[in-house]
Amino acid sequence: MSTQGSVESELDDFDNKALSILVVDDDRTNRLVLNALLSKEGYKISEAADGQQAVDSCLETTPDLILMDVMMPVMDGYEATRQIKAMEVDAFIPIIFLTALTDDESLAACVTAGGDDFLSKPFNRIILQAKIRAMLRLKHSYSVQLQQKKMLSNHAKQEEQEQLVAKKLFSNVVHTGSLESPNIKYIISPMSIFNGDMLLAAYSPSGSLFVMLGDFTGHGLKAAIGALPVSEIFYGMVAKGYSIGDIVFEINARLKKILPTGLFCAGSLVEFDPEYQSISIWSGGVPDTIVFHPEEGIRMKIEPKNVPLGILEPNTFNRSVQMYPLKEDDRIYLYSDGVIEAENAAGGMFGQSRLDQCFDKDSDPDFLFETVLGSLSDFVDGKSQTDDTTCIEILCNASHDQNETEEWKSKSRSKIPLGWDIALDLNADALKEVDPLPIITQTIMEIQGIIEHRERIYTVLAELFSNALDHGILGLDSKLKQSAEGFAQYYTQREENLNNLTDGFVKIHIRHDAVDNKGQLTIHIQDSGKGFEYQDQNTDMSHNTGHSGRGIPLIKTLCREFEYCGNGNEVTAIYEWEYKN
């Protein structure tokens, strides 16, 4: 806190404040001489005629320094010094022995008794003054140090208090939701919020389990601040039945707005749909997601396809999710890079391959999670690393608690398939301004209430609409998106072409029919582009994957019927859902 210079200048003030010196000597003349000498220097002098008086005086008021004779009646200087040094709690009272004794042993005894310095009588005035000054300087720097130590320890205490309060506040918002479900096992540090890790889980109205693992850059409050909106958005939107794509889009937009450049949130968001026995995943910046099956071991590793949250502007953000069918008894593992990077005392890292080795297909799947944690703690062996370790296992079996779903269903709209249709025509100006997908999806949900189909319907609509706009009207080549570099180029090009668009339209027509016990959603999209040779496309779509996302093959698996018509500038897809009474 203070440099050498400021200590010096403070010491000058210190001198002027009439520092007090206690003179202890049984010889009255000696006391008089010292009193006269030091009073002239500006010190405030008090006197004691023996050791006992000195001790008593110190009990009353502590002097800044003591000049102590050795041989005195009642109590000698050694004993008085021992008692005075024993009584001091905070303050440092320097004691200088003034003694007629000159033998080495007596002088050493002064120091042994607790004296700080000694001077033999008769003394040289200048030396005495110098010693007093040196001792007072030492006392001063000791008191400055003591003050700083007190401030630091107060500060630490206060910080600890604040962290506890903050933790309570945060845990109200960033709560664990449905993490205690029987099909979930997890580990996360109780103070994780200040390590930047978060783990959220909730059931959607349709009975899907949503889990989010987030890992903010940095530590402390700046990491915790981002966690608040993420948690609010996650729990709010899952409860309302929004899809993963909607949720990550919203989270990214909010984080982009509030986080300074360089801070972001790596994360993955997973939806496990027990009814369709499938998972949808969006992930960016976190290690590969592991899917384990007892008969196959690691069955699938899902790579993160995205840039972490809070980096990209909403218009370049990729909200598309990957969908995979699941098998009964599949287990999904999400984990932060803290697991991979856990260090042992020798500085080695746990690493992906050690983690992968835990997933042996012969091991008991019910203890797999414990095996992973065991292997990790064996590796770090005593080095406390669990603070940065966040990991969750989701057992993907169809049976789970349906209470929340039932409650929602009673409140939801009638799901009886109805007959209706809507049409939306967008001209060039509208295409620049409006994203019709949320509007159309929301309308379908409002009328039919088939919230469990939201993500699928959105996926079909989004793919068909972006094909019409990006390829049909803007003339972009989807091959660009197959490489990571091209991906960025694609979006730059798209923005430019869209800005320059003067002519063109996309017509979207949605019809819904009740057919037997099913609802049938017919999506027809027509664009003003010149179309393409779709005969080849209708048969072979296998190349249309990679960075261009789910592509047409996915649409075909989601829809009952799918075909291009006209010049290839029109497309019809039929999505079917079953009505269960």
Partner: protein, 99 residues
């Protein structure tokens, strides 16, 4: 440690990072690219000498990209661990990565 290289005959400025690329070098990394005021046509970040890199390093790269504006930023590395971090975070979607 951050080493900045630029020469009159080359329009690129190269930031070579060695040792730990983490929070501890944040100040010197920022100082290094802030020197790049002149008319450079490219930033090259050479990460071949990096032993360890964490997410704050990714944050620094994002800050550099913001500073660079339209000037392209190329990340050069053949280090396996570094490439793995860049893969997971999909930074190739925003930077040119040369290995």
């Amino acid at each position: 440690m951050i080493l900045v290289e630029s020469s009159d005959d080359s329009p690129a400025i190269t930031l070579s990072v060695s040792g730990n690329f983490d929070f501890s070098v944040m100040m010197s990394f920022q100082d290094a690219f802030n020197q790049g005021q002149a008319n450079f046509s490219q930033f090259i970040v050479d990460l071949d000498g990096v032993d360890y890199m964490d997410s704050s390093a990714l944050g620094m790269l994002l800050q550099l990209k913001e500073f660079a504006g339209n000037v392209p930023v190329t990340i050069k590395t053949s280090k396996k661990d570094v490439l793995e971090i860049l893969r997971i975070s999909n930074f190739a979607q925003m930077f040119t990565v040369v290995s």
